[in-house]
Symmetry: C2
């Protein structure tokens, strides 16, 4: 396969994912068939199946792409200067904002998220591991810089920080909270501050 | 209406709720019609409608009954002697255990919980208010006894404590966690300790 063909395959995959994501958001995951996507893309279902063995595989790829976007945001913040506490606060609030805009703005999206979480547990699990790893690194840096008190098990503490922020990070909980009225940004910030204070000396 | 008739109405309501709860758990909320409940109860649908205007109203009453059970558990712990920190820990872990056993042991139950949360938001909201009020009282007692550091806004701190425990209290998150394997009791305890430490002097 030459470079031209390889680029074209990548482009095709991107197009399939773009169109599928738009369909899943607008029409719903359950109500969208691979044939509908084929029609919208102006290609055969067989051509879609060359790249994705099933509708579930397409959803998994969309899910992975969204998670990669959030990883990029986290990685950028991690590389910033500034105290560990500030960067930890930024990571948690940026993820809150990202998840809010990407997963819960549209009703249909809940279905995709729920299915992704049930069917593509490995992808979600990988994301959790990445996030907890980043939090652990920030805690360790904070301890080294004398900002945070020492923790006997940094990975456990990082997991607890992530867990205690579930209500501002978990798509389903953000959505539930949004149903009660627009989520209060000041309250998300207060929660993050409360958790970070727990780490401080 | 004399006392005998009144008792009988209460007993009828209890029977309807018992049978409905069993049906919703076993068959599913969506798949159960009021006529099915009537048949199982050996009474007419019209008689059920004398007490509950709709299937939704029955679900709301079941939901309220479950929440009242958890209120009794909380009230009992609140009245115990012991430090505020210990009682707060007991309240959070007892609620975790209660929700785990009542809401997530059976797959069908998720549907009931999800519907209850969407349709009967007032009942859920009332429960949240009760829980946050109890946590606030324990924090205030802890501050008075010199266990906890002073908080400028005890109600906000109580809300943050509740929010930070979402992943061990929220039925949907407990269920999600259970799907990954039996939930680690030691981890729930570690989370509660982490949060309570944040309150301490």
């Amino acid at each position: 396969m030459n470079i031209r063909q390889k680029l074209s395959a990548e482009e095709t995959i991107t197009r399939i994912l773009d169109v599928a994501e738009e369909h899943f958001r607008r029409v719903g995951y359950a109500k969208t068939a691979v044939a509908d996507l084929a029609e919208a893309l102006g290609m055969s279902s067989a051509n879609i199946y060359r790249f994705f063995p099933s509708k579930g595989a397409i959803n998994q790829a969309i899910c992975k792409r969204l998670l990669n976007e959030s990883h990029d945001i986290i990685t950028t913040i991690m590389a910033n200067g500034g105290s560990a506490a500030t960067r930890l606060q930024d990571v948690l609030l940026a993820l809150n904002a990202f998840n809010k805009s990407r997963y819960t703005a549209e009703r249909r999206m809940h279905e995709m998220v729920a299915i992704a979480m049930e069917e593509n547990w490995a992808v979600v699990q990988e994301h959790m591991t990445f996030l907890v790893g980043c939090i652990a690194r920030l805690i360790a840096e904070g301890v080294a810089q004398g900002e945070f008190r020492p923790h006997t098990d940094v990975m456990l503490t990082a997991l607890l920080v992530k867990k205690s922020c579930s209500c501002i990070l978990h798509p389903m909980l953000i959505a539930e909270s949004e149903r009660m009225g627009p989520q209060d940004a000041a309250q998300s910030r207060a929660l993050v501050d409360f958790i970070i204070d727990a780490l401080k000396i």
